[in-house]
Amino acid sequence: MKRLWLFLPVAVFALIAGAVAYQLTQPRDEFVRSAMIGQPLPSFSLPPPGGGPATLSDASFRDGRPRLLNFWASWCLPCIAEAPQLERLRGEGAVIVGVAIRDRPEDVAAFLQTHGNPYAVLAADDIAELQLALGSSGLPETFVIDGQGRIRYQHIGDIRAADVPVLLDELRKAGS
């Protein structure tokens, strides 16, 4: 019995080594997820690309209609891949609000000319102020906002064909 106790340190070591080995084989989630899911949108107001009076604020989201809030930029390459999927979402009845990050108005216009414009409203955020306020960490990124202006869902990265039904479902859930 006493001899068995001598193996305790070995057992503890094996346990720790096992845990480390298991963690090493697991795929790593490299994204920093937003901690704002379930929270109301922080107050903000943003102008359209090129400047002028604000066209988008947190109040724009509180009219009872759920929306997609899409962060993108003309200089962001995955945003090109995402464009047809946004067009599909719009075709399925989704209202998409676009926020262009650190972008020149002429580049925004050229991008929309080439890849289509799925946005109901478009605003510009030159210092990623709204992106940081929402806990978003990169481009492109899409949030589902319900009709009370509450953040319901975060999609990180470009929207692929398989993500379209997921986002439509989240929009439906946000609307009920």
């Binding site: 200089w75 390459l77 650190r102 030159d126 992106q131 960490s137």
Partner: protein, 141 residues
Amino acid sequence: MTVMKWLAAALLCILPLPAAAQSAMPPAPLADRQLDDPRLEAAARELMHTLRCVMCQGQSIADSDAPMAGDMRHQVRSRIAAGESAEDVRAWLKARYGDYISYQPELNRVTWPLFAVPALLLLFAALVFFRRVRVAAKPRR
């Protein structure tokens, strides 16, 4: 020769891609500009060294050249210039990105074993050591 030429041309096509994947816009006003008040600047800088860049997660926002890190530095400087304390700004970011955003070790419900286990092990080792010493000091019959 022509094969080499085509290869060179193909290589040149790939090269400028990473450069294109960056914003052409100037950085946020306070991303790389110090605050006028040296005391506030020092506070901002100290905080920036303990905040993780969300784009390049191995670097602090003070060390990173990513545009996102510049925007985060702008937030830190402008909030501190507006009178917020460094801990207010840290709390603001934690509310958005979770504890992962801060490099500062923190004692809470999840992390307490990290601090408790070494102390317990030390106590255990000391106990074993003193028992051995006592046994060894005992005169043998």
